[in-house]
Symmetry: C2
DNA sequence: ATACTTGCAAATCGTTTGCAATACC
DNA sequence: GGTATTGCAAACGATTTGCAAGTAT
Protein backbone atom coordinates (compact mmCIF):
# COMPACT_ATOMS: atom_id res chain seq x y z
CA UNK A 1 0.00 0.00 0.00
CA UNK A 2 1.16 3.53 -0.69
CA UNK A 3 2.33 4.74 2.72
CA UNK A 4 1.11 8.26 2.09
CA UNK A 5 -2.40 7.05 1.42
CA UNK A 6 -2.11 4.65 4.33
CA UNK A 7 -1.31 7.39 6.81
CA UNK A 8 -4.00 9.62 5.37
CA UNK A 9 -6.55 6.89 5.83
CA UNK A 10 -5.36 6.38 9.38
CA UNK A 11 -5.98 9.99 10.20
CA UNK A 12 -9.28 10.11 8.37
CA UNK A 13 -11.17 7.80 10.72
CA UNK A 14 -8.70 8.37 13.54
CA UNK A 15 -8.39 4.78 14.62
CA UNK A 16 -4.98 5.53 16.09
CA UNK A 17 -5.64 9.04 17.45
CA UNK A 18 -2.31 10.26 18.74
CA UNK A 19 -0.56 6.94 18.65
CA UNK A 20 1.44 7.48 15.50
CA UNK A 21 2.72 10.79 16.79
CA UNK A 22 3.45 9.34 20.20
CA UNK A 23 5.56 6.61 18.68
CA UNK A 24 7.34 8.96 16.32
CA UNK A 25 8.28 11.15 19.24
CA UNK A 26 10.04 8.19 20.79
CA UNK A 27 11.71 7.30 17.51
CA UNK A 28 9.67 4.13 17.24
CA UNK A 29 8.50 3.45 13.74
CA UNK A 30 4.73 3.16 13.62
CA UNK A 31 4.50 -0.17 11.90
CA UNK A 32 1.23 -1.97 11.38
CA UNK A 33 1.92 -4.40 14.24
CA UNK A 34 3.02 -1.77 16.70
CA UNK A 35 -0.01 0.35 15.95
CA UNK A 36 -2.34 -2.59 16.39
CA UNK A 37 -0.77 -3.54 19.71
CA UNK A 38 -0.67 0.06 20.84
CA UNK A 39 -4.32 0.41 20.04
CA UNK A 40 -5.15 -2.65 22.11
CA UNK A 41 -3.03 -1.38 24.97
CA UNK A 42 -3.85 2.30 25.08
CA UNK A 43 -7.16 2.84 23.37
CA UNK A 44 -9.53 0.33 24.80
CA UNK A 45 -12.60 1.47 26.69
CA UNK A 46 -11.97 5.13 26.02
CA UNK A 47 -9.40 7.23 27.76
CA UNK A 48 -9.14 6.08 31.35
CA UNK A 49 -7.85 2.69 30.43
CA UNK A 50 -5.20 1.15 32.52
CA UNK A 51 -4.47 -2.35 31.62
CA UNK A 52 -2.22 -5.09 32.92
CA UNK A 53 -1.36 -7.69 30.35
CA UNK A 54 1.09 -10.46 29.76
CA UNK A 55 2.71 -10.98 26.40
CA UNK A 56 0.61 -14.09 25.81
CA UNK A 57 -2.60 -12.25 26.67
CA UNK A 58 -1.84 -9.42 24.29
CA UNK A 59 -0.92 -11.91 21.62
CA UNK A 60 -4.28 -13.64 22.04
CA UNK A 61 -6.13 -10.35 21.98
CA UNK A 62 -4.41 -9.38 18.79
CA UNK A 63 -5.34 -12.68 17.22
CA UNK A 64 -8.92 -12.32 18.47
CA UNK A 65 -9.19 -8.87 16.93
CA UNK A 66 -8.00 -10.22 13.62
CA UNK A 67 -4.45 -8.88 13.67
CA UNK A 68 -1.74 -11.33 12.76
CA UNK A 69 1.31 -10.64 14.94
CA UNK A 70 3.93 -13.11 16.00
CA UNK A 71 4.59 -13.66 19.68
CA UNK A 72 8.20 -12.60 19.21
CA UNK A 73 7.00 -9.26 17.89
CA UNK A 74 4.67 -8.85 20.85
CA UNK A 75 7.65 -9.27 23.16
CA UNK A 76 9.75 -6.88 21.12
CA UNK A 77 7.01 -4.30 21.11
CA UNK A 78 6.28 -4.56 24.83
CA UNK A 79 9.94 -4.05 25.61
CA UNK A 80 10.31 -1.17 23.20
CA UNK A 81 7.25 0.53 24.65
CA UNK A 82 8.61 -0.05 28.13
CA UNK A 83 12.01 1.39 27.22
CA UNK A 84 10.22 4.39 25.73
CA UNK A 85 8.28 4.96 28.94
CA UNK A 86 4.90 4.10 27.47
CA UNK A 87 4.59 0.98 29.61
CA UNK A 88 5.87 -0.23 32.91
CA UNK A 89 6.88 -3.78 33.66
CA UNK A 90 5.59 -5.26 36.90
CA UNK A 91 6.78 -8.55 38.32
CA UNK A 92 4.49 -10.27 40.76
CA UNK A 93 4.90 -13.94 39.95
CA UNK A 94 7.93 -15.91 39.09
CA UNK A 95 7.75 -16.97 35.49
CA UNK A 96 5.96 -14.13 33.81
CA UNK A 97 5.92 -10.38 33.42
CA UNK A 98 2.95 -8.08 33.36
CA UNK A 99 2.93 -4.80 31.51
CA UNK A 100 1.04 -1.87 32.94
CA UNK A 101 -0.25 0.93 30.74
CA UNK A 102 -0.26 3.28 33.70
CA UNK A 103 3.22 4.77 34.00
CA UNK A 104 2.38 7.26 36.73
CA UNK A 105 3.49 6.57 40.27
CA UNK A 106 1.04 4.13 41.75
CA UNK A 107 0.81 0.78 43.45
CA UNK A 108 -0.95 -2.55 43.00
CA UNK A 109 -3.32 -5.11 44.34
CA UNK A 110 -2.44 -8.60 43.27
CA UNK A 111 -5.11 -11.30 43.46
CA UNK A 112 -3.05 -14.44 43.87
CA UNK A 113 -5.86 -16.83 43.11
CA UNK A 114 -6.77 -15.32 39.77
CA UNK A 115 -3.47 -13.77 38.79
CA UNK A 116 -5.16 -10.41 38.26
CA UNK A 117 -3.18 -7.25 38.87
CA UNK A 118 -5.06 -4.05 39.60
CA UNK A 119 -4.08 -0.46 40.27
CA UNK A 120 -4.74 0.80 43.76
CA UNK A 121 -7.00 3.77 43.21
CA UNK A 122 -6.08 7.30 44.23
CA UNK A 123 -3.67 7.73 47.08
CA UNK A 124 -4.63 4.52 48.79
CA UNK A 125 -1.06 3.89 49.79
CA UNK A 126 0.96 6.44 51.67
CA UNK A 127 4.60 5.86 52.46
CA UNK A 128 5.34 7.90 55.55
CA UNK A 129 8.98 7.04 55.74
CA UNK A 130 11.50 5.67 53.30
CA UNK A 131 15.06 4.72 54.16
CA UNK A 132 18.10 6.46 52.74
CA UNK A 133 19.32 4.60 49.67
CA UNK A 134 22.65 2.94 50.38
CA UNK A 135 25.69 5.02 49.49
CA UNK A 136 26.37 5.12 45.78
CA UNK A 137 22.83 4.25 44.76
CA UNK A 138 19.72 6.18 43.89
CA UNK A 139 16.11 5.16 44.13
CA UNK A 140 14.79 4.26 40.73
CA UNK A 141 11.32 3.21 41.76
CA UNK A 142 9.37 2.06 44.77
CA UNK A 143 6.94 -0.79 44.23
CA UNK A 144 4.23 -1.62 46.72
CA UNK A 145 2.32 -4.81 46.03
CA UNK A 146 -0.58 -5.78 48.26
CA UNK A 147 -1.05 -9.51 47.85
CA UNK A 148 -4.61 -10.66 48.34
CA UNK A 149 -5.96 -14.09 49.08
CA UNK B 1 25.50 -45.28 58.46
CA UNK B 2 23.68 -46.25 61.61
CA UNK B 3 21.11 -43.52 62.07
CA UNK B 4 21.37 -43.57 65.86
CA UNK B 5 25.11 -42.98 65.73
CA UNK B 6 24.56 -40.45 62.97
CA UNK B 7 22.19 -38.36 65.02
CA UNK B 8 24.38 -38.63 68.08
CA UNK B 9 27.36 -37.40 66.12
CA UNK B 10 25.24 -34.55 64.83
CA UNK B 11 24.43 -33.42 68.32
CA UNK B 12 27.95 -33.96 69.59
CA UNK B 13 29.55 -31.14 67.66
CA UNK B 14 26.20 -29.44 67.09
CA UNK B 15 26.64 -28.74 63.40
CA UNK B 16 22.89 -28.52 63.00
CA UNK B 17 22.01 -26.85 66.31
CA UNK B 18 18.24 -26.77 66.39
CA UNK B 19 17.75 -27.56 62.74
CA UNK B 20 16.74 -31.17 63.14
CA UNK B 21 14.16 -30.27 65.73
CA UNK B 22 12.90 -27.34 63.68
CA UNK B 23 12.33 -29.57 60.71
CA UNK B 24 10.71 -32.31 62.75
CA UNK B 25 8.28 -29.81 64.19
CA UNK B 26 7.16 -29.02 60.66
CA UNK B 27 6.93 -32.71 59.79
CA UNK B 28 9.82 -32.40 57.38
CA UNK B 29 12.18 -35.33 57.54
CA UNK B 30 15.69 -34.20 58.35
CA UNK B 31 17.48 -35.87 55.47
CA UNK B 32 21.14 -35.32 54.78
CA UNK B 33 20.39 -32.95 51.87
CA UNK B 34 17.81 -30.89 53.74
CA UNK B 35 20.13 -30.52 56.70
CA UNK B 36 23.00 -29.47 54.50
CA UNK B 37 20.88 -26.88 52.71
CA UNK B 38 19.32 -25.73 55.96
CA UNK B 39 22.74 -25.25 57.43
CA UNK B 40 23.83 -23.14 54.47
CA UNK B 41 20.65 -21.11 54.69
CA UNK B 42 20.20 -20.60 58.39
CA UNK B 43 23.54 -21.09 60.07
CA UNK B 44 26.02 -19.06 58.18
CA UNK B 45 27.84 -16.23 59.91
CA UNK B 46 26.37 -16.99 63.29
CA UNK B 47 22.84 -16.15 64.30
CA UNK B 48 21.88 -12.89 62.70
CA UNK B 49 22.05 -14.24 59.19
CA UNK B 50 19.51 -13.19 56.68
CA UNK B 51 20.22 -14.42 53.28
CA UNK B 52 18.65 -14.02 49.86
CA UNK B 53 19.47 -16.82 47.49
CA UNK B 54 18.28 -18.26 44.24
CA UNK B 55 18.01 -21.98 43.74
CA UNK B 56 21.04 -21.95 41.47
CA UNK B 57 23.11 -20.03 44.00
CA UNK B 58 22.27 -22.43 46.79
CA UNK B 59 23.02 -25.33 44.53
CA UNK B 60 26.46 -23.90 43.78
CA UNK B 61 27.13 -23.23 47.44
CA UNK B 62 26.25 -26.77 48.30
CA UNK B 63 28.58 -28.05 45.63
CA UNK B 64 31.31 -25.68 46.82
CA UNK B 65 30.97 -26.92 50.38
CA UNK B 66 31.29 -30.48 49.19
CA UNK B 67 27.67 -31.56 49.47
CA UNK B 68 26.24 -33.40 46.50
CA UNK B 69 22.63 -32.31 46.01
CA UNK B 70 20.71 -32.27 42.78
CA UNK B 71 19.19 -29.04 41.57
CA UNK B 72 15.75 -30.65 41.64
CA UNK B 73 16.20 -31.36 45.33
CA UNK B 74 17.28 -27.79 45.96
CA UNK B 75 14.02 -26.61 44.40
CA UNK B 76 12.01 -29.15 46.36
CA UNK B 77 13.68 -28.15 49.58
CA UNK B 78 13.30 -24.42 49.04
CA UNK B 79 9.60 -24.87 48.39
CA UNK B 80 9.09 -27.16 51.34
CA UNK B 81 10.88 -24.73 53.63
CA UNK B 82 8.78 -21.92 52.23
CA UNK B 83 5.55 -23.84 52.76
CA UNK B 84 6.67 -24.54 56.33
CA UNK B 85 7.26 -20.86 56.98
CA UNK B 86 11.02 -21.17 57.30
CA UNK B 87 11.61 -19.18 54.14
CA UNK B 88 9.86 -16.54 52.16
CA UNK B 89 9.82 -16.26 48.40
CA UNK B 90 10.47 -12.84 46.91
CA UNK B 91 10.01 -12.00 43.25
CA UNK B 92 11.91 -9.02 41.94
CA UNK B 93 12.94 -10.07 38.47
CA UNK B 94 11.08 -11.95 35.82
CA UNK B 95 12.58 -15.36 35.38
CA UNK B 96 13.81 -16.23 38.82
CA UNK B 97 12.79 -16.41 42.44
CA UNK B 98 14.77 -15.41 45.49
CA UNK B 99 14.34 -17.03 48.85
CA UNK B 100 14.70 -14.96 51.99
CA UNK B 101 15.66 -16.51 55.30
CA UNK B 102 14.03 -13.63 57.13
CA UNK B 103 10.35 -14.43 57.50
CA UNK B 104 9.49 -11.47 59.72
CA UNK B 105 7.64 -8.54 58.26
CA UNK B 106 10.18 -6.43 56.45
CA UNK B 107 10.95 -4.88 53.10
CA UNK B 108 13.71 -4.84 50.52
CA UNK B 109 16.27 -2.91 48.59
CA UNK B 110 16.92 -4.34 45.17
CA UNK B 111 20.12 -3.43 43.36
CA UNK B 112 19.14 -3.81 39.74
CA UNK B 113 22.66 -3.74 38.37
CA UNK B 114 23.98 -6.55 40.53
CA UNK B 115 20.77 -8.46 41.19
CA UNK B 116 21.40 -8.29 44.93
CA UNK B 117 18.44 -8.22 47.28
CA UNK B 118 18.91 -6.81 50.76
CA UNK B 119 16.69 -6.33 53.78
CA UNK B 120 15.86 -2.77 54.68
CA UNK B 121 17.11 -2.43 58.22
CA UNK B 122 14.88 -1.63 61.16
CA UNK B 123 11.72 0.27 60.46
CA UNK B 124 13.10 2.08 57.47
CA UNK B 125 9.78 1.86 55.69
CA UNK B 126 6.59 3.08 57.27
CA UNK B 127 3.28 2.62 55.54
CA UNK B 128 1.05 5.38 56.83
CA UNK B 129 -2.01 4.36 54.91
CA UNK B 130 -3.13 1.20 53.21
CA UNK B 131 -6.29 0.85 51.15
CA UNK B 132 -9.17 -1.40 52.10
CA UNK B 133 -8.79 -4.75 50.43
CA UNK B 134 -11.48 -5.20 47.77
CA UNK B 135 -14.64 -6.94 48.98
CA UNK B 136 -14.19 -10.65 49.40
CA UNK B 137 -10.42 -10.54 49.75
CA UNK B 138 -8.00 -10.27 52.61
CA UNK B 139 -4.46 -8.96 52.65
CA UNK B 140 -2.00 -11.79 52.66
CA UNK B 141 1.16 -9.75 52.54
CA UNK B 142 2.44 -6.33 51.61
CA UNK B 143 5.69 -6.17 49.70
CA UNK B 144 7.67 -2.98 49.37
CA UNK B 145 10.61 -3.12 47.01
CA UNK B 146 12.86 -0.13 46.61
CA UNK B 147 14.60 -0.50 43.29
CA UNK B 148 18.03 1.05 43.14
CA UNK B 149 20.12 2.06 40.17
C1' DA C 1 18.17 2.77 -1.16
C1' DT C 2 18.81 1.89 3.25
C1' DA C 3 18.06 0.70 7.72
C1' DC C 4 14.71 -1.09 10.66
C1' DT C 5 11.08 -4.74 11.51
C1' DT C 6 8.95 -8.93 11.18
C1' DG C 7 8.05 -13.94 11.52
C1' DC C 8 9.54 -18.29 12.06
C1' DA C 9 11.79 -21.91 14.24
C1' DA C 10 15.35 -23.10 17.16
C1' DA C 11 17.75 -21.98 21.30
C1' DT C 12 17.85 -20.67 26.08
C1' DC C 13 16.77 -20.19 30.88
C1' DG C 14 14.58 -21.20 35.15
C1' DT C 15 11.72 -24.52 36.96
C1' DT C 16 8.92 -28.89 37.26
C1' DT C 17 7.94 -33.71 36.69
C1' DG C 18 8.08 -38.96 36.14
C1' DC C 19 10.09 -42.70 37.82
C1' DA C 20 13.49 -46.08 39.48
C1' DA C 21 16.84 -46.30 43.18
C1' DT C 22 17.67 -44.96 47.93
C1' DA C 23 17.20 -43.24 52.70
C1' DC C 24 14.46 -42.46 56.78
C1' DC C 25 11.53 -44.00 60.77
C1' DG D 1 8.81 -52.69 55.86
C1' DG D 2 6.62 -49.19 54.16
C1' DT D 3 6.56 -44.52 52.90
C1' DA D 4 8.99 -40.34 51.86
C1' DT D 5 12.91 -38.52 49.40
C1' DT D 6 16.42 -38.30 45.95
C1' DG D 7 18.61 -37.91 41.40
C1' DC D 8 18.49 -38.02 36.77
C1' DA D 9 16.93 -36.83 32.47
C1' DA D 10 13.19 -35.39 29.97
C1' DA D 11 9.38 -32.09 29.83
C1' DC D 12 7.86 -27.53 30.41
C1' DG D 13 6.54 -22.57 29.84
C1' DA D 14 8.07 -18.04 29.23
C1' DT D 15 11.23 -15.45 26.81
C1' DT D 16 15.12 -14.61 23.41
C1' DT D 17 17.71 -15.01 19.31
C1' DG D 18 19.43 -15.68 14.37
C1' DC D 19 18.39 -14.91 10.09
C1' DA D 20 15.92 -14.43 5.63
C1' DA D 21 12.06 -11.88 3.84
C1' DG D 22 9.24 -7.76 4.11
C1' DT D 23 8.32 -2.73 5.30
C1' DA D 24 9.05 2.28 6.60
C1' DT D 25 11.31 6.63 5.64
Amino acid sequence: MNPRLYNKAMNANRPYSGLIERLKLKAIRPTRQRLALGKLLFERDGEACNRHVTAEQLHSEAAASGVRVSLATVYNTLHQFTAAGLLREVVVEPGQSMFDTNVDEHHHFYFESSGVLEDIPGHGVELARLPEPPAGSRVKRVDVIIRLA
